[in-house]
């Protein structure tokens, strides 16, 4: 069985399972509302699609870790992992497939979000008779991409390590909304070496290499390694 085939099955599961599908519908609906709201409430002379993408990027930074967590924890939580290991006893492959699926789902969602945001921005522009402009795309797009992909990987890593959806999602939110901001107050400039924001900053070209490496080891590499070991050696009850 190829890892590619397994990855496609994992992607399919995200869209056909009630919980993750509901989550994606909520994210898409919020994205649409945001796009319309930014169009109506923004500059009264024009509609800026880049501004819509910037706000969507913020939402994706918070939402994508949840997708990563769900991809890595759902099978363990519902004891379906046994059936997967029966179909693919080489467990590392299913782990890699989940990782690839996390990235594929993110790419699909980003494409969908960009499409929806563009259509709605055009629609709002026509409705309000304002011109559509794209100023600031060079900043908005990298931020959206980096926030989404780093977010989904961080969620996948924590989900893999904890194998518990509630615990991993809680930790993701804590990390994004509380731990990262608090680390900014750590004296002697230590904070950036531990913040996930350092990973995103480096990817968008705004951050330094060393904090990217240390934060990447802490929030991505270490939990992924723990998750891989647990995935390979875990006994299915």
């Amino acid at each position: 069985m190829t890892t590619g085939r397994l990855s496609l099955v994992e992607v399919r599961k995200v869209f056909t399972t009630l919980g993750s599908r509901t989550f994606l519908i909520v994210v898409a609906s919020l994205g649409a509302v945001i796009a319309v709201a930014v169009g109506f409430l923004g500059d009264d002379q024009q509609v800026n699609a880049a501004a819509v993408l910037t706000v969507l990027g913020l939402m994706f930074t918070i939402a994508m870790p949840v997708v990563g967590v769900l991809i890595f924890t759902s099978d363990w939580q519902h004891r379906e992992i046994g059936s997967i290991f029966l179909a693919q006893p080489r467990r590392s492959r299913s782990f890699v497939a989940k990782l690839i699926a996390s990235l594929l789902v993110t790419a699909l969602l980003l494409a969908a979000a960009a499409g929806i945001a563009s259509v709605l921005s055009v629609g709002v522009g026509v409705l309000l008779q304002r011109p559509l402009i794209w100023t600031g795309l060079d900043e908005a797009v990298p931020q959206l991409l980096a926030g989404s992909f780093v977010g989904v990987l961080a969620g996948a890593a924590l989900g893999a390590a904890l194998q518990n959806a509630i615990g991993a999602i809680s930790l993701c939110f804590l990390q994004t909304l509380l731990i990262d901001p608090l680390l900014g107050f750590v004296p002697a400039g230590v904070g950036p070496y531990l913040m996930t924001g350092s990973i995103t900053s480096f990817v968008t070209g705004a951050g330094a290499l060393v904090p990217f490496v240390t934060a990447g080891l802490l929030w991505l590499a270490a939990p992924l390694a723990i998750g891989l070991v647990r995935h390979r050696l875990g006994e299915v009850s």
């Binding site: 069985m1 085939r5 397994l6 496609l8 099955v9 399919r12 599961k13 056909t16 399972t17 009630l18 919980g19 759902s74 519902h78 004891r79 379906e80 046994g82 059936s83 997967i84 290991f85 029966l86 179909a87 693919q88 006893p89 080489r90 050696l233 006994e235 299915v236």
Partner: protein, 302 residues
């Protein structure tokens, strides 16, 4: 299976268990709760790691098989699927995992009688329907071996009969090899060829089902029950009190009872050699009531 051993902490769950399952046969895996049956089945297919020993399918470990699901089909936990997914999607996903088409998956579901509930959420299915879904998944890869853990627990009579018939057809007509754990001894006695008994983590018995039968007993039904009991008493033949249907379990061969009835001019409506509860008696003797309430040993988790 050769010398399979497994411990959890200081508790030895399985101790050098070895036995074989011939092709074209149905082997019942018996043992009290906590004897290690489920652990044994999971170790066989790589869901746990044995401390010692290995289980081989056609000479290979499960984890080394190129296409494992085309060799071994497993039904180990019928409820272990996402409750929020539809029945058809549950099986289609498993078909995709092993490179089969959605059409094949749906066909398998229709074959196991789940055509009318394809769109229903898995979490909304009854236990019997979940067992059918599990069996459909186990049979998807057209395997030559089946491992089934308590597949008939909690099933209604109709579904249990359907599962039994499917297993029998898999072994007898398709030449498959079945290892099935069950607590339903009389059910198992009706279709298993061989039994393996695990007791306290060790192999307590391995052999043909015929070895468990007591040929020196029979069940008798006579219109004149009182006359039959009088004749048996007069001949000094032991028997159990008649059941509500009038049948009497007699501790003598059917030939002996037939001769006795002939001498006393008794009409016999039914004379069945062997004891319908022979496997249960045999099992109780082998396990010596392990984990029974009287033994004082607490129940273990399986």
């Amino acid at each position: 299976m050769a010398g399979l051993s497994k411990s959890y902490g200081h508790t030895r769950v399985l101790n050098e268990v070895s036995f074989g399952v011939p092709a074209g046969s149905i082997t019942g895996l018996l043992g009290p709760n906590g004897a290690g049956k489920t652990t044994l089945l999971r170790l066989m297919v790589g869901l746990g790691r044995p401390d010692l020993g290995e289980a081989l399918f056609d000479g290979q470990r499960y984890v080394d098989l190129a296409e494992p699901t085309s060799v071994v089909g497993c039904l180990l936990d019928a409820s272990a699927h996402h409750p929020g997914r539809s029945v058809s999607e549950t099986v289609v996903l498993h078909a995709r995992y092993i490179g089969l088409s959605a059409r094949r998956a749906v066909g398998e579901l229709v074959d196991v009688g789940l055509g009318p509930v394809l769109k229903r959420r898995f979490g909304a299915l009854s236990l019997g329907m979940r067992q059918r879904v599990g069996l459909a998944i186990a049979l998807l890869g057209r395997p030559t071996h089946l491992l089934l853990d308590e597949p008939m627990n909690g099933l209604d009579v109709e579904t249990a009969a359907w599962v039994r018939d499917r297993i029998v057809s898999f072994a007898r007509q398709e030449g498959g090899c079945v290892l099935i754990s069950s607590h339903l001894l009389q059910e198992l006695q009706s279709f298993a060829d061989r039994i393996v008994v695990i007791s306290q983590g060790q192999l307590a018995f391995e052999g043909g089902i015929e070895q468990t039968r007591n040929e020196r007993s029979c069940i008798v039904l006579a219109p004149d029950t009182a006359g039959l009991l009088t004749a048996l008493n007069a001949a000094g033949v032991g028997f159990a009190p008649p059941g509500p249907d009038g049948r009497v379990a007699v501790r003598a061969s059917s030939a002996t009872v037939g001769g006795l009835a002939h001498r006393h001019g008794l009409l016999i409506e039914e004379l069945v050699p062997g004891d319908a509860r022979a496997l249960e008696s045999f099992y109780m003797a082998i396990t010596k009531g392990e984990f029974s309430p009287e033994s004082g040993v607490p129940h273990g988790a399986n």
